[in-house]
Symmetry: C2
Subunit: 713 residues, 2 copies
């Protein structure tokens, strides 16, 4: 059993090896003609420049936090905090590097070999990212565990694990917010002036913002998403381990539980998350080899190829987790059943899948909601917007019900596994490992997700390099496929965010009580009292419900301001560069200035919303921990609802526009199409800035509270 962390480390290294292999495979492909290669390099240059500057800003923030952790919590925590931050940044950087190499190569593959050649290439580009994310996160956690904690020692080295998680969260938050603002400022700027004012198509080489738009796809959808999933994956593994560690080891631990949980009982619980991650990693590696296409160019066959990898990986994980349960959770070790916790994990996996399906139903043009938005476009942009908003809000209902079911199933599993006297802990542990289940197959799920922006960029390059329209048709088909598969990945991300945050929240409760000195005011006041009817908790709940609204407002406004700077610049170029608008031979836009504007604006804009997530819980926590408890709970439930609403409404508008562009309701250029473009533009910051950043916001706030719990009391 003691081998499990080492197994996890080995599987993580195998994942990283696979990423390196795919990296080589992508690199050896041709990046096409000179123009395509030049475009690719321009995009890569812009993306690198942004990430470098972003990481400079974030490094300052990380330094401040590291000092705070060293002083207020525990000195070694600063080390693991920085370790988590660096690995997370590295995962984003690697993913972005390969994505900016794979784009032109995918265009060239589409040109020379059609979808059967382009799809595997784009997928391999995505897989470099997918396995870097999962590999680095799992390797980092295993190293922290092996080096600082050892096997089953009763110390509080587990604070170092949560600090690692906070490091990952810090990067994820800023990457999501900064990258999200960048990508949407460029996108909205390019669209509003290009498509709407100048009447030129998307990705037209005359549009000065096109390069910035493509850079944005890489820094937002690839690097931002990579850091996000690194954080989710790492956080999901940390949560159950921290829960058990804080409950069982700390000196002030609840006597009953501590007595009850012998080492035989604790160790399997501590190692189970690593075991699940190990199985998921192996399963992902196997799954990734199954993503290949025949000669078919049919969209459904291509779609099957992508889904096959994910489905097989999940199947293997389910079987493996049952086996793992049988090995770890024996009655000898004090468990009531071996299958309880595997049920939690599998339940989590299935619910994550189901939430992804909900997202798909509400955002794919195969189903009613998107078709409804397209129909509503017939009566103009106002009805397009209203239909999208109501659809997004309805999808909240379905998603929350699924999360509720997931929580109940996961809790049931925990209850079945744990002895009677530790039922409550068992329920929460079940919830925590359900999130691990959702994210176990991160390797392959992120590969499929990261494939989307690569295909999108490939289309952009085809357009800018003025290739045959047939090439664009191929990349468009791949891209639209990406939109649906990405929905599943988002389902896992958001579902796991809710469960992980809930588990971290419970851990925070435990940690607070244990960290408090016996003679503190906190203990004198009766410890933590989170009765929702108490006014201090209720005010916290209110403030927590409000914060996601303010956060969404700030990020939407940030996109608006940054987009405006871009719009002014594009207009200026069309006005001042003679022959640009007409597309005169040899006249080129000044793309570099647009890239610089987006970079500067988005970095400036990411500071306030990013800082909010860290400062607000700290301020509240130092005033009143009961209020902080209410605050975290309020933010969690409302933020989850807003995140689902914004992501699904945004995705639906995007696909409604694409559905119309396929020739429905008058097709491109018709009035319904114009209305749908309005919807798409409104949806851009919803689905790519505010919505995804919200997931991280919730976890950052919870994990900040958890790390600083001992400082509050």
């Amino acid at each position: 059993m003691e081998a499990i962390p080492y197994l996890a480390l080995v599987s993580a290294l195998a994942g990283l090896g696979l990423a390196a292999f795919y990296f080589g495979a992508v690199k050896k492909e041709s990046s096409g003609n000179a123009r395509m290669t030049e475009l690719m390099e321009e995009i890569a240059l812009g993306a690198r420049a942004f990430l470098k500057q972003e990481y400079t800003y974030v490094a300052a923030f990380v330094a401040v936090m590291a000092v705070l952790i060293a002083v207020l919590v525990v000195p070694l925590g600063a080390v693991t905090y920085i370790f988590g931050a660096v690995l997370s940044a590295l995962a984003g950087y690697v993913g972005m590097t390969v994505a900016t190499m794979a784009n032109a190569r995918t265009t060239e593959a589409a040109r020379s070999g059609g979808p059967a050649k382009a799809l595997p290439l784009a997928f391999r580009g995505g897989a470099v990212m997918g396995f870097s994310v999962a590999g680095l996160a799992l390797a980092g956690l295993a190293i922290v565990y092996i080096v600082f904690i050892g096997i089953g020692e009763s110390d509080d080295g587990f604070e170092l694990l949560t600090a690692f998680g906070l490091g990952a969260s810090s990067i994820a938050l800023f990457s999501r917010v900064g990258g999200g603002i960048y990508t949407k400022a460029a996108d909205v700027g390019a669209d509003l002036v290009g498509k709407v004012e100048a009447g030129i198509p998307e990705d037209d080489p005359r549009n000065p913002a096109t390069i910035a738009d493509n850079v944005g796809d890489n820094v937002g959808d690839v690097a931002g998403m990579g850091a996000d999933l690194f954080e989710s994956y790492g956080g999901s593994i940390v949560a159950p381990m921290a829960l058990i560690a804080f409950t069982a080891f700390s000196i002030d631990a609840n006597e009953t539980t501590a007595n009850l949980l012998g080492n035989d009982f604790i160790l399997p619980l501590l190692l189970f998350p690593f075991g699940v991650a190990f199985i998921g990693m192996i399963a992902s590696i196997i799954g990734s080899f199954l993503v290949k296409t025949g000669d078919s160019t049919d969209i459904h066959d291509l779609s099957k190829a992508l889904h096959r990898g994910t489905n097989v990986a999940m199947g293997i994980t389910i079987a493996g987790v049952l086996g793992l349960g049988a090995w770890l959770f024996t009655t000898d070790n004090g468990f009531d059943s071996f299958w309880g916790l595997p049920v939690s994990v599998i339940g989590g996996l299935l619910v994550g899948f189901a939430i992804g399906k909900v997202a798909e139903i509400w955002t794919s043009d195969q189903f009613g909601p998107v078709k409804g938005i397209a129909s509503a476009s017939e009566t103009g942009p106002a009805t397009t917007i209203l239909k999208g908003i109501s659809g997004g809000m309805l999808s909240v209902g379905a998603s929350v019900v699924l999360i509720g079911i997931g929580i109940i199933v996961a809790m049931y599993g925990g209850h079945q596994a744990f002895p009677d006297a530790a039922q409550e802990l068992g329920g929460i542990y079940g919830i925590a490992v359900a999130a691990v289940g959702m994210l176990a197959t991160t390797g392959v799920v992120v590969s499929v997700d990261a494939y989307g922006p690569i295909a999108d960029n490939a289309g952009g390059i085809a357009e800018m390099a003025e290739l045959d329209p047939g090439v664009r048709d191929v990349t468009d088909a791949l891209d639209s496929l990406g939109n649906t598969t990405a929905a599943v990945a988002k389902g896992f991300a958001v579902g796991s965010a809710a469960l992980t945050a809930l588990a971290l929240f419970k851990t925070f409760e435990v940690a607070l009580v244990q960290a408090a000195p016996i003679d503190s005011q906190f203990i004198a006041d009766g410890g933590l009292n989170l009765n929702v009817g108490d006014v201090d908790v209720f005010i916290g709940l209110f403030l927590g419900a409000m914060l996601p609204f303010v956060f969404a407002a700030l990020t939407i406004d940030a996109v608006g301001r940054a987009a405006n700077e871009m719009i002014e610049e594009v207009r200026r170029q069309f006005r001042e560069i003679p022959g640009l608008r007409e597309g005169k031979e040899g006249v080129k836009p000044d793309s570099a200035t647009c890239v610089a504007i987006s970079t500067k604006a988005s970095l400036k804009e990411m500071i306030i919303p990013g800082a909010l997530a860290v400062v607000v819980p700290l301020v509240i926590g130092f005033i009143d921990v009961d209020t902080l408890g209410g605050f975290l709970a309020g933010a969690l439930v409302t933020g989850f609802c807003l995140a689902i609403f914004m992501s699904n409404a945004g995705g639906a508008w995007d696909n409604a526009k694409k559905y119309i562009e396929q020739g429905n309701h008058g097709g491109k250029g018709s009035d319904p199409h114009k209305a749908a473009v309005v919807g798409d533009t409104v949806g851009d910051p919803f689905k790519d800035t505010s919505g995804p950043a919200m997931n991280i916001l919730l976890k950052v706030m919870t994990i900040v509270s958890l790390v600083f719990a001992s400082a509050f009391v």
Copy 2:
């Protein structure tokens, strides 16, 4: 002291007398030429027809609920439930009747005497509604108290008061939802085909939906708002009385509190809300006499005239409440201070005012947010929408912080007044009476609020009767004034909703524990346990946060579907009635069919969202009361945030459009104006359907839970 309920009754009757006096004053004015009178009658006919049918539907619902209450709770409760419902419906009906008389008369006054004559008339029309609402609610409550409860008797007749409140809530919910759907379906339908497609101005007589649009103003903004405020006002008075009654009288009362609270202590607390309402009513009557204009037509002078009434009424209330406190809360009766609870009341009043100011800042064209939306319209409808959404969301931040301050101040007041052993009860009682403070001046506040739709309708009649454009300018000035004053009223409504719901929530907790038989499973499980970290409470919190989103989605979609039916009909008429579009002499649209369509569609659409509010808490309550507690708390905080967001975003879009129409950013017909019209259309169901209905939703769900508390355990 025993005279207070009688004083309240007398003041309520005085308010009703004033309403009758104003009714006569409005009625004796001229309704203008034959065409104007004819239009007025058409509108009145449509409004009456709708209300009649709406009440038929609602009567069926009320009957079912009455039976449930009689069987599951207490037989007499069915009587007071029906009494509350009937009075609430009556208040809406009276308000609507006078509003549909005052509209043409205001047009005529504007034509013959300008704003100095039109403003007082429109205000008097509104005042009939304002004093009917406050008078009927206060009279009803006083009668229930005097007849069924007597003075200070220790019985559980207080359940009859909460049943009265539930009756009012039931009507309010359906009136807000049904009326809100009606008014916006007609408005959106009229705008989309009229202004956008046919290119004819608002309220043009050629547009077949214009009459329906004007009917909508009366059934939604007048009758719906009247029932809403009846419910808020009544509910705010019921909450503190029920809180004290359930805590002090019931047999299973918390021993400590029961022993501590002698009759000397309890009676002033029971009667204080009536006393505050009495003072507010007298102050409102005085304030209403101060709303008069000189000869000035300057908008700021007119605005001052309206504000003077409200401000004086508030000043009188503040002074009166301090006096009332000195009389009731003596140390002889066991109070620690006489000024504590007056501070709670005054705090509530000031916070309500401040929330109104926040609404004004975010929705008036004098301030940044609306100007920002107008600027954003330069770059098209998408940026208009995004700017409105982010502004609305930011206003949530300010409003929640104010509510938090209000809660803290109100709690502080309660703590100061109550003896040490009953501090918690004192805090909650303080919060409950703060809501009474916010609504004490309902009489004059609603008068000012109801004045708005009358001025709006007057403008519509001026347009349809093809009067001189100068008349329309006068009514437009009055109307835009109404938008800002209405913001203040909305601030009171939404602020009091949060506080009342919180107080009712606490009462629900107390009622549950007291209603449970000693040998019930509920008591065996340890009674109510609302720790937010418990999974059952947390799932409730999640479901509660989700419900307002689903409710908003359902109501928005309902407006969309009803508007679509209207659009089809208007298009049909323009297509099939020869000469209509060209405005040929003698060709009239078939307005009656449009009215019938709106009526039918909105009644059909109100059923599901309305039923949701009652059915969901009942279902959850019968499954698990802890989950229900979490559910109510989650719905309260998230619903409040969504309500503020939707109301303020909608109001801001509306006024941004009007701001552009004043000649800014290119004025009417420019591209920014078209973009602003899109914003306004999106905002219509936000601010007039989903947003205001949300307030009631929260209270209905809490009060349903409270009334049925004894049935759950």
